[in-house]
C-alpha cells in the first residue's frame, strides 16, 4: 500500500531525515522518537508537503510526487495538528469539506456525500454536534470532527500527527480506540509522543533518532530499555504488565565528557582500573593512599594526583578533607574492593559523602566485604549503607570502563 524507500529530506541545507525506509500494508503503525528526531517531517514527506531530495515514496506502487494532489487526496489524508479557524462553519460543513476531492469543481455535495459525512460523524461520535459551529466546541470534540473530515475523504491510508496531543486522558483513550478500530480497515500511520500509548495501541513501531530509523518492529521489540535509554537519554524500566508494555522513566542519564574520575582504593586493587582509565583519556584522581602502597606507586607512575598520607598511618582529618575536595570536583567516584582497617575507614566515609552530594558512585565487588573488613564490623555497616543509598555495584574494573564509555558516547 505505502512504501517509503530510502528518503533523504532537507530543511534548507540541514539534513533532517536520512535513508528512511518504511512499508505499511495494514494495521496501525506508530512513529516514535524524541523531539526533533524527524517524526513530523517524515509524515510531511509522505503527505507531499516536503519533497525528499532523494528516495521515493510509493502509494499503491505510484510515486506520490508524480500523482495529482486531488487523486492522492482520494486515497490518503492527514489529520494534522494545526486545524483551526476563526470562521464559524458548522461541524457538518467541516466534515463535508472532506468530500472535496471526490467532487468536480462546480459540483454540489449530493445525498450520497451527505450520507458518507453522516457515517463519519456517527463513527467519531460527533453526529450530535452537526449543527454546532466548529468555533464553539471543545478541543476533544474538535479533534474528533477533524478525524471525521478525514474519514469523509474515504482514504485508504490515514496519517495522524500526534492525534491526542492537548487532550485529556479520557479523550486520548477514546480517540485511540477509534483509530485502532479504523486500522482494521485502513492503513494508519501515527506519530506518537507518549510511548506508553504507542506501545499499547500500535501493531508496529518505528523509533527515530536524529533523522534515522533506530529500531523498528513489534512494540516489544522496539520498546526495550536499551533503545529508549539510547534515544531519549533517560533511564527507563520496561515491564510487561498483564500482556501490556509499560515504560517507567527513572532518571536522566547524565552524559559527561571524559571528565574527572576519583578512585578510592588501596593495596593494589586499582592497578588495572587506573591504568585503563588513564588510557581511555579520563582525568583520574585517587585517595587517600598511604605512601608506598602499591596503588600509590601506580598512581605516581601514571602521573595521577593522589591525596597521600604517611606510610602505615591512619588517615588524618586534614587529608580526609582534602580527599573530599577531590571527590567534589569529580563527576564519578569508584571504590575498589580494597581491604578496610581502622586506618582507612575515612575513605568509606568519603564515599558516603559523595553519594550524599549526588555524585555517581560505583563499587567494585570482587570479593565479600566481610573477608576484607578488619575493623570489627564498622566497615561492613558503612559499606551496606553505601550500597543501600544508591551506588552501582559492578564485578570488575572492565564493567566500570564499559559503563563510563557508554555514558560519554
Amino acid at each position: 500500500m505505502l512504501d517509503v524507500k530510502d528518503i533523504d529530506v532537507f530543511y534548507g541545507d540541514r539534513k533532517v531525515l536520512e535513508r528512511i525506509c518504511l512499508s505499511a500494508e495494514s494495521g496501525l503503525k506508530g512513529i516514535i522518537g524524541p523531539n526533533g528526531s524527524g517524526k513530523t517531517t517524515l509524515l510531511k514527506s509522505i503527505s507531499r508537503v516536503l519533497k525528499p531530495k532523494s528516495g521515493i515514496i510509493l502509494l499503491n506502487g505510484k510515486d506520490v510526487y508524480e500523482l495529482k494532489a486531488k487523486d492522492i487526496a482520494k486515497d490518503m489524508t492527514v489529520v494534522s495538528q494545526d486545524t483551526s479557524t476563526k470562521f464559524d462553519f458548522t461541524v457538518r460543513d467541516v466534515v463535508l469539506m472532506g468530500r472535496a476531492p471526490h467532487l468536480g469543481r462546480f459540483e454540489m455535495e449530493k445525498r450520497e456525500d451527505m450520507e458518507i459525512a453522516e457515517k463519519a460523524m456517527k463513527l467519531t461520535k460527533t453526529w450530535h454536534l452537526a449543527d454546532r459551529t466548529i468555533t464553539e466546541i471543545s478541543g476533544g470534540e474538535k479533534q474528533r470532527v477533524i478525524i471525521a473530515k478525514a474519514l469523509a475523504q474515504e482514504p485508504k491510508v490515514l496519517l495522524l500527527d500526534e492525534p491526542t496531543s492537548h487532550l485529556d486522558i479520557n479523550y486520548q483513550i477514546e480517540i485511540l480506540d477509534l483509530i485502532k478500530a479504523l486500522s482494521k480497515e485502513l492503513v494508519v500511520i501515527a506519530v506518537f509522543h507518549d510511548l506508553n500509548l504507542a506501545a499499547r495501541y500500535c501493531d508496529e513501531l518505528i523509533l527515530l533518532s536524529e533523522g534515522r530509523v533506530f529500531a523498528s518492529g513489534k512494540p516489544d521489540e522496539v520498546i526495550i530499555s536499551r533503545n529508549i535509554e539510547d534515544v531519549y537519554d533517560i533511564e527507563v524500566m520496561v515491564k510487561q504488565d498483564s500482556g501490556r508494555l509499560v515504560i517507567y522513566p527513572q532518571k536522566k542519564v547524565t552524559k559527561f565528557k571524559k571528565g574527572r574520575i576519583h578512585v578510592v582504593c588501596g593495596g593494589g586493587t586499582a592497578t588495572l582500573l587506573m591504568n585503563s582509565l588513564v588510557n581511555h583519556g579520563y582525568t583520574v584522581t585517587a585517595g587517600v593512599l598511604n605512601r608506598n602502597d602499591s596503588d600509590w606507586d601506580t598512581g605516581k607512575m601514571l602521573g595521577i594526583e593522589v591525596v597521600e598520607e604517611k606510610p602505615f598511618s591512619t588517615i588524618s582529618e586534614k587529608k580526609h578533607l582534602q580527599n573530599l575536595e577531590f571527590i567534589k570536583q569529580a563527576e564519578f567516584v569508584v571504590m575498589t574492593d580494597m581491604p578496610f582497617g581502622n586506618g582507612n575507614l575515612h575513605n568509606l566515609e568519603a564515599v558516603m559523602e559523595a553519594i550524599n552530594s549526588g555524585i555517581l558512585v560505583a563499587v567494585i565487588e570482587g570479593s565479600d566485604i566481610k573477608e576484607r573488613d578488619f575493623t570489627g564490623g564498622k566497615a561492613t555497616d558503612l559499606y551496606a549503607l553505601i550500597k543501600a543509598e544508591g551506588s552501582t555495584s559492578v564485578r570488575n574494573y572492565l564493567e566500570i570502563i564499559e559503563m563510563l564509555e557508554k555514558k560519554c558516547g
Binding site: S80, D82, F87, F89, V94, A100, R105, M108, Q153
Partner: protein, 332 residues
C-alpha cells in the same frame, strides 16, 4: 433535494430581485426628481421628455451601473482577502492597492493626465512590489504578504502626502479623489470596468470551495487535494485586479470591502460558495443607495460616497453584530 441548494437559491433570488428594484428605483433620485413611470418608459421604449431621457441614460444610468460594479468588486475582493488571510480584519486594500492607486492618481492630477489610468498603474505597481517581497521559493507566506503590504502602503502614503504638500491648488482635487465618489461616471468607464470586474468575480467564485478549505489552514487544505499555492496566487491576482479597477474609476471608497463581507457572513454563514456571490449583490445594492444619499442629502452639492457608507453602514453593522441573530439562515 437538498435544503442547502434551496436555501442558497432563495438568498440569491431575493438579492437579485432587490438589486433590480434598487437600480430602477434609484434612477428616480437626484437633484431633479423623475417619476417612476417615466423611468420605466425610458428603460422600455425610450419615450420620455428629452431632458429626463438625457438625465437617465447619460448621467444616472452609467452612474448606477458603475456603483453596482464598484460595490460588487470591493465586497467580493474583501471577502476573498479575508479568506486568503484567514483574518476577518483584512480588506481589499490590505496589500497596498489603495495607497499605490492614490500615488498614481495624485501624479495624474498634478500633471494633468488621465487619473484612472495612472491610478490603475499605481495599484498594480504596489501589488507587484508587495507580491514580490512576500514570495519565497515560489511560495507566498500570507504573514509576510500582510506585513509587506503594510510597509508598501506606508511608503506610498508618504509619497502621496508629499505630493499633496506640494500640490498647491490641486490639493482639494486630490483630497476629493482620496475620499472616493462616483460623480465622474460615464459610459466609457462602465465599458472599461464591466468585463474585468464581472470575469474577476466569476473567477473568484470558482475557487470558493477551495477558499473554504483554506480557512481551516493551508496544510489541511493541501490534504484535501487543493493546490494551495496556485489558488492563493490566482485569488490574489483576481482580487487585486477588480480592486484596482474599482479604485481607478471611483477613488478610494472605504468600508465596503471590510464591512459588507462581515454583514453578509452574519446572515448567510461563512461558506464562500454563497458568501461571495451574496457579497457581490449586497455590495452593489449598498453602494447604489449610499450613492443616492451622497447625491441628494445636501443637493445640489454632493458628498463623497465613502463618508455616507461609513455614516450609515457602521450603525447598521453594529446592530447586526450585537443582535446575536447569527446564522439565521444557517439554522433554518
Amino acid at each position: 433535494m437538498y435544503p442547502k441548494i434551496v436555501k442558497w437559491g432563495v438568498i440569491i433570488l431575493t438579492l437579485v430581485l432587490a438589486l433590480a428594484l434598487s437600480s430602477v428605483i434609484s434612477l428616480a433620485f437626484g437633484p431633479v426628481n423623475i417619476p417612476l413611470d417615466e423611468i420605466f418608459a425610458v428603460l422600455i421604449n425610450g419615450e420620455a421628455e428629452l431632458v429626463n431621457k438625457t438625465i437617465i441614460s447619460h448621467i444616472r444610468l452609467p452612474r448606477i451601473i458603475l456603483a453596482m460594479l464598484v460595490g460588487s468588486a470591493l465586497a467580493v475582493a474583501g471577502a476573498a482577502m479575508q479568506g486568503l488571510f484567514k483574518n476577518p480584519m483584512a480588506d481589499p486594500y490590505v496589500i497596498g492597492i489603495s495607497s499605490g492607486a492614490a500615488f498614481g492618481a495624485s501624479i495624474a492630477i498634478i500633471a494633468g493626465i488621465s487619473v484612472p489610468i495612472l491610478a490603475f498603474l499605481g495599484a498594480l505597481g504596489a501589488v507587484f512590489l508587495v507580491y514580490n517581497i512576500a514570495i519565497k521559493n515560489g511560495k507566498i507566506a500570507v504573514e509576510t504578504l500582510l506585513l509587506s503590504g503594510i510597509a508598501i502602503a506606508a511608503f506610498f502614503s508618504a509619497t502621496t502626502s508629499l505630493l499633496m504638500y506640494m500640490a498647491g491648488e490641486n490639493l482639494h482635487q486630490i483630497v476629493f479623489w482620496l475620499m472616493g465618489g462616483l460623480w465622474a461616471s460615464d459610459w466609457d468607464k462602465v465599458m472599461v470596468a464591466f468585463p474585468p470586474i464581472l470575469l474577476g468575480i466569476i473567477g473568484i467564485s470558482i475557487f470558493s470551495r477551495d477558499l473554504n478549505a483554506m480557512l481551516l489552514g493551508e496544510e489541511p487544505a493541501q490534504y484535501l487535494g487543493i493546490d494551495v499555492e496556485n489558488v492563493k496566487r490566482i485569488l490574489l491576482v483576481l482580487a487585486s485586479l477588480i480592486t484596482g479597477i474599482a479604485v481607478s474609476v471611483s477613488g478610494i471608497i472605504g468600508f465596503v470591502g471590510l464591512i459588507i463581507p462581515h454583514m453578509v457572513r452574519i446572515v448567510v454563514g461563512p461558506d464562500n460558495r454563497i458568501l461571495i456571490p451574496s457579497c457581490g449583490l449586497v455590495g452593489a445594492i449598498f453602494l447604489i443607495w449610499a450613492d443616492v444619499l451622497a447625491r441628494t442629502i445636501i443637493a445640489p452639492t454632493e458628498l463623497p460616497v465613502g463618508i455616507i457608507m461609513a455614516l450609515f453602514g457602521v450603525p447598521f453593522f453594529i446592530y447586526l453584530l450585537r443582535s446575536k441573530k447569527r446564522n439565521w439562515m444557517i439554522r433554518c
